[in-house]
Structure formats: C-alpha cells, structure tokens
C-alpha cells in the first residue's frame, strides 16, 4: 500500500527536488549577473521624477528607452506558494522572481541608453503571465523612461 503511494507520487517528488536545486542555482547566477551589471551602470542614474528636466537647459537629445524581462517561477516555488496561499501570510517565494524581473528590466533599459547622462520619469509595470497550464508561472516586467543627453554633467 505504502509502496504504491510512493510510486504514484515519485515523479512529483523528483520534480520538486530537481526544481528546488535548479531554481536556487539559476537564482544565484542571475543575482550575480544583476549585481555585476548594476555596478557597471551605477554612473547612469535613473529617477522616477520627470518635472525637473522640463524645459531643461543644455539638453542635446532625449528619447524614450525601454527594457523588458520575463522571469519564471520554478515548479518548487510554485508548489510551495500553492500551499502557502491556503494558509495565508507573506508569500516570500514569489518575491525573488518579481525582484529579478524588475531589476533586469531596469538594467536592459539602461543598456539601451548608452551615453546618456540620466534617465528620468522611469515607470515600471508588470503583469503575471501564465502559459501551458493555466496557473501563475512567471512575471513580465517592462521599464521605460526618457533618456536625457546633456553636454554637461547634471
């Protein structure tokens, strides 16, 4: 009896164990690359304020820049989240994916604004995505702002 139950749920168990490790490894690598890029782009500031540059003197060029990223929630975290949502409380397991998607989107936005002195009026929007099976399986984040080029440092 116990054996039968074990065999029946073995694929689920294997999937949980495997995705636990793959999720952790991928997360760590992603954060490593995010931190590296953030360091690289730390000179290019971005702000959610837009009014300050209105009329801006010395602005030679300005254009819209965007960045987007889709980050998935691996099976393990999704499963834990499913149980968690029944009992309530802070769902920490989804926060990592959200955070990574947002930061990656901002970094890609900065990447497309090479040479700019600042990015102003940055807005971020995200949508949960679901595909394959109808469940929450990831998050897409899109960040956009106005890259401002000045001949003098702000």
């Amino acid at each position: 009896m116990l054996e039968q139950v074990l065999i029946q749920y073995l694929p689920l168990l294997i999937l949980l164990v495997v995705t636990f490790f793959t999720g952790r490894i991928i997360e760590r690598r992603h954060y490593k690359s995010i931190l590296k890029w953030e360091e690289e782009f730390s000179r290019l500031r971005h702000t959610s304020i837009g009014r300050r540059v209105n009329g801006g003197a010395g602005v030679t060029e300005s254009r819209l820049v965007c960045g987007e990223a889709v980050v998935s929630v691996e099976f393990f975290r999704w499963f834990v989240g499913l149980l968690h949502s029944m009992f309530g409380g802070a769902m920490r397991e989804y926060e990592s994916s959200l955070d990574r998607a947002r930061r990656e989107a901002i970094l890609r936005m900065k990447q497309s604004a090479a040479g700019a002195s600042a990015i102003v009026n940055v807005r971020i929007e995200h949508t949960p995505i679901s595909y394959g099976m109808s469940r929450f399986s990831g998050v897409e984040a899109i960040a956009w702002g106005t890259a401002v080029y000045k001949d003098t440092e702000i």
């Binding site: 889709v70 998935s72 691996e74």
Partner: protein, 106 residues
C-alpha cells in the same frame, strides 16, 4: 519623431497639441517556442523567448502609435505610457498611448 514619457520634450517647446494617439498589438510566439519556454519555466530562470516577444510587441505598438501621430502632422509624442496584459495563454498584449504634439526649438 521625438518620443518621451515626460510632459514635454526636454530642451524643446510645445507649440501645438494634436490629441491622444494610441497603438496596440497582440502577439504570440510559435507553439514550439511556447513549449520550450514552458519546460524552461518549470526549472526556473529567465524566459528569453518571452522577453523577446514583449520587446517585439512593444516596438510594434510604438510604431503604430508614431504612425498615427505622423498622420496628424505631429513631430513628437509626449507622456507615453504602456499598459500590458495577457489576453490568452502564451500571448502578450501591449497598449501604448501618448499625446501627439508639435515641438519647436526653445
């Protein structure tokens, strides 16, 4: 065509308003890509196939918006906003809207 998401084009002066212009599009990827992304999603990490989808969707929505602005005779679109949603599984909808204006050197 100048595009910005602040209320004017920095360093320029708005001389005429042409009203709101919009561009929206719904796109999806080839079903084999969907399957690949689904498998990738189980193990976690970034879904590059879908990042590209959103990038393409955004570009097309912006193109449609600027085409509309050109038709009105504007040379800039200000205060651009995006709104995204998932219309159906594996597809992405993006709506771009802004105000078409005519700008001149300040």
């Amino acid at each position: 065509m100048y595009i910005s998401n602040v209320e004017s084009i920095p360093g320029k002066r708005v001389v005429k308003h042409h009203g709101m212009v919009t561009g929206s599009t719904v796109r999806a990827r080839f079903f084999l890509v969907d399957f690949g992304q689904w498998v990738k999603g189980i193990f976690g990490g970034e879904l590059r196939g879908y990042s590209k989808l959103i990038s393409d969707t955004r570009q097309q929505a912006l193109d449609r918006m600027t085409a509309q602005a050109k038709e009105l005779g504007a040379n800039a679109v200000v205060n651009v906003r995006f709104s995204t949603s998932t219309v159906s599984l594996g597809s992405s909808e993006l709506y771009a809207y802004g105000t078409a204006v005519e700008v001149a050197d300040a």
